[in-house]
Point group: C2
Chain length 297, copies 2
């Protein structure tokens, strides 16, 4: 089991309207997650709005998170950046602050070639001794990893994991089998897209990179444990309870839903960085109902 195995919880990064991180807020969230049985923290993931924060603020968030985790759970830090030198600096910063691992998406403006992305990962891994997880997230980066590129990247010694986007329902097991039969099988293979988590866990993926885990860590742990034990009846029950949340994630974007959720649950009063807007009142009420549905049943 590496730091990239099991349930990784992805919290928001509370910050004010100017993008100044609320370090007390970060510590509060990380303490809450660290005490809840998750296997790692995915700090400054897409949910942690890494793309919207400066290097200085990202560093402050890492410092606060590592301090709050107190070695109870590993802290994996998102270091994605448009420029290779910026990503290298973010990797060095995270290592200096005591992070346990890195997560990096090939953020792009001008669409990247496969080779540019390879060289980007190579250059960043050379700047740090921390293990790194490939963050394959085409819905935000619009970059598509070919299987060939994933194989090539899996040859880099410090690349230890890949966070895959959710395939179509019913297709996880096939994808996982194909990946494991290739050099990519040397990596821990995890999934994001919470609605696919149960299917992916039942198919024996190595990790669940979970947005839900960032605000409902206990439920995420319970679903994860049920799936690992192949308790399909329990998994189905959890899925029924969580279905309204998955629907909102897919319809409104999980990030907006998560802010409404943490606001309602009293975990944070932070708002998303503009131009991202808080949900409308009507959608906030739908989030509240979906959250209640999880706990009522």
């Amino acid at each position: 089991m590496s730091i990239f195995h099991g349930l990784s919880a992805f919290p928001i990064t509370p910050a004010n309207e100017h993008g100044i991180v609320d370090t007390d807020g970060v510590m509060h969230l990380i303490d809450h997650l660290s005490a809840s049985g998750v296997n790692s923290i995915g700090l400054l993931g897409s949910t942690g709005v890494y793309a919207y924060l400066t290097r200085i603020e990202r560093n402050r968030a890492v410092r606060a998170a590592v301090q709050a985790a107190r070695g109870r759970v590993p802290v994996i830090v998102g270091i994605g950046a448009l420029r290779t030198d910026d990503a290298q600096n973010l990797a060095r910063d995270a290592e200096a602050e005591g992070a346990d691992g890195l997560l990096m998406a090939p953020v792009s403006y001008t669409p990247l070639t496969q080779d540019e992305t390879f060289q980007h990962y190579k250059a960043v891994t050379e700047a740090t001794s921390l293990p790194l997880c490939i963050y394959n997230n085409p819905s935000t980066t619009h970059f598509t990893f070919t299987k060939e590129l994933l194989c090539r990247l899996s040859d880099i010694p410090s690349i230890k994991a890949v966070k895959m986007p959710s395939p179509k329902e019913g297709e996880v097991a096939t994808e996982l089998t194909e990946l494991r039969a290739s050099p990519v099988g040397a990596l821990a293979i995890g999934y994001s897209g919470d609605w696919i988590a149960a299917e992916a866990l039942l198919a024996k993926c190595d990790s669940w990179f979970s947005v839900l885990g960032g605000f409902f860590p206990k439920i995420a742990c319970q679903l994860s444990e049920a799936a690992v034990k192949e308790d399909t009846i329990a998994v189905k029950q959890y899925q029924e309870r969580l279905q309204p949340i998955w629907t909102l994630f897919r319809e409104l974007g999980s990030l907006r839903v998560v802010y409404a959720a943490v606001n309602h649950l009293g975990l944070s009063d932070a708002q998303p960085p503009r131009p991202l807007l808080p949900l409308t009142k009507i959608n906030q009420e739908r989030v509240v109902k979906a959250l209640e549905w999880v706990t009522i049943l």
Copy 2:
């Protein structure tokens, strides 16, 4: 005729490997373009790698460009940023440095809703008195403007133009007619995607936002003038001469081709910001041949 009418030339922004702008290099390019008959400079467009430069470096580039233009041609400055407050600051900076207009793409990481993009533009226009051109560039931003949103934005008094991406060949005239029949018709409507420029100019679009214009301004002016005069024979001849460049733009990405072109033409020895890589030797040679083809014929 506004500053957003006619041929707008989009140069690279020369910078070193650390993203420090070479202001002498900027001034050299802008002086060259200002003396060549183009109608405006599109500074810090996608070709000007705005997304890869810090606020400080973007400001240095604007200052150098305004100084070099010496009032001969208006300088339009790209102010796109992921955060609304950052885009507002870039608008204020550009205005303070004497820029004539702004160009802004809805840069995104978390995909934006139509309303978020509207509010983003509204907030930025409220921070400046400069006129603004909507930069509609789905190949880099992955944001699709609905016609409804374009109509809504055209109601904001300081929004004066829209830079449209290239539609399929043969479809510009229809698109233009439809846009002009709507409230968007109040804006100057220009096109990017150089391979569609001749068709768009013959269809009487208001402006050509030109990558070619950033390194071959005279040829771009000549093509533009031929099209405005409806000299279809001359237009066809220019298109034949430029076809190899258009092919390379589409195959390799115009940005990479432009760096190879300016290197070969001796306009700049700058390289693209990593992770973007210079073209391979073989592709550089193809660029050289395409450039020669323009001048030989």
